[in-house]
Amino acid sequence: MVDIAFGPGRDPRPASGTSAAYLAMVRRRRMYGGILLVLFVVLMASGFDLAQGRNAGGFLQGLPRVLEFPAEVLAEAWEKRANLPGLVLAHVPALVETLNIAAVSTLLGGMIAMALALLATRGLARWPRLTTLFRRMMDAFRAIPEIVIALMLIYILGGGPVPAVAAIALHTAGALGKLFSEVAENADLKPVEGLSSTGATWGQQMWLGVIPQVAPNWLSYALMRFEINVRASAILGFVGSGGIGYDLKIAMQWGMGRYDEVVAIFLLLFLAIVAIDRLSDHARHRLVKG
């Protein structure tokens, strides 16, 4: 009875209505997709045109010249290739400074991020009312470009690595704080409850109940941040504080005649970045997958 009542011969209209509606929906979605795509292409094209108009040189004129400068640099460096090993060695201290800047700022920023993340996570916060405040604080830290803090601190403190450390650490605190708090949100609250039943303070609850759970993920994020910070500290060096970026800038400003030095610094930076990426990739893989 039931089978017959809902059998195929009964009333085909609802089915065809459904398929018509489905097709109409698909068509509408495709149309929206198409409109969005066209809009996007127009935006890209006009944006590129605008950017080109405000640029000193055009795209097509510049394109053949992209390889000119690297070729010039490499040719000179090849002529003086005997100097390269010595130059590479000479710039190792600067590289160490850049790496130190990145490491110290990741450490300091990571510590601030830990505190901020725990204070901003619902369910864990010391003062639940203030979670929004700490969240906004992290947003602001993330939004301030490193270069602004670095340049202002250079004005006050003079050059050197400290402005770069402060600038990168502040940004790291904001960026890692957000990721840390996303991880902490998923932490199991049972250990915290257990600890609080024994009368543990908030700090003890976090240190013994939450941190062990989230440590692998946090460490993995911190390592990823370290990779990013190595690059940031090289760039900040170029803009004004110490490290290998500064050496590169000086060598570049010298121009012809010092290109072997440019290549040496470049090689050093490249190898360091690749090595660090590899190591941290490997370490992160082991941390997350056990």
Partner: protein
Amino acid sequence: MTTATLAPDLAATVTIRFARRRMLSFAVPALILAYLLYAAVAFDLPGLAARARLDNAAILLSDFWQHKTHVTRDNRSGEVSVSIEGDSKAVYPADRLPGWVTMAGGLTTVDLGGGHVVTYDDQGARYVVPGYGTVDIRPDGNALALTAPQPLPDWINASNTRVTVTTDAGRFTYTRARVETFRYQPGWEMFLFTLDSPFHYMSWGELAASALWGDRVRADQPNILAMAQDVWTNRVWRHGDVAWAMFETVLMAFLGTFGAAIVALPLGFLAARNMMPLGAVRFGLRRVFDFIRGVDGLIWTIILARAFGPGPMTGSLAILLTDTGSFGKLFSEALENIDEKQVEGIRSTGANTLQQARFGVIPQVMPVLLSQVLYFLESNTRGATVIGAIVGGGIGLLLTQAIQTQKDWEDVAYYMVLIVLTIMAMDSLSGWLRRKLIKGE
């Protein structure tokens, strides 16, 4: 029996593990501390304290939120001018002086507030400091004669040729060439209208009234347009240029990020194990991605700036190139993690490779890819500020210029606020788009 022999063993291993963990929990912080101590020495922190210029910090912080107005008299010609920050572009016209400066027949009175009054007259100048007395200065031949209650406090700095009085209310300087009084007031002066605009002299209420029904200040345009024009062409704050620069920065990030996504999508397919049967192509492409990422945005920026010259296009190309490496890697990884069943289903209908990719793969990976692209868009907006500083485009250029002059700190504060607001806006925009596109509302 067995349990009896096992138990001490277990206890022993547990105790050993506990001891090891306890040691670790002391060793790790100790190591970090040791490293930080080494870094403090390597970064010369003790020397830094000596090199730090705290007076610069004071200038910077006070400049951030307040401005000063100079009341200056040229002692040779006797001319008095009132200007903001001593800027020749910001001199008050004689008939529209601020209320705290009065000039009448060779006598200029500057009321600094709180009872502090400075008077310039034909004999010299006087500064009445409440709770102390009157500092009176007269030129005496080639030197200055100072009359003030003795002993002189340390906030009065006097020599034969120069007398400086610094109080909380302001700063007063007398030299033979001129006498000058600074009054500090909170706020960014002339932020909306410069002194040559008639709107500068109106209060908020008057502004609203004149915008809505007041007589036309300029015959050829309505007041509200005139106001907009005066703000946009403000010569001191240059709102128009700043808005353009900010737009350029966002444009660089937009073009760079989406351009990189467009370039990296096909490359990602070619580098994914399940899409590309030829191992050599995969290997080659992956090394290219590694190379691009390894060389780093800084170097690419420098190379491209040589070829294309300074400007926003160079910046966006630099972002494009750097991100192509990152996107290529991320996209190919995402493509390798797809569910093969859907592709099989499409293949079973007789679809060719392109159709399989379009209907079997793209719908699966699109949300993941888009969310990654949007994350990058936000961080590239910040990156575009730095790249702009290097290639000379956008707000990064204005910012570094303002910082390098070392006096326009209020401009720096303005740009900073603008950048932070823009990045926060981009952050919430990309978050909103992510939610909308990925979770479907």
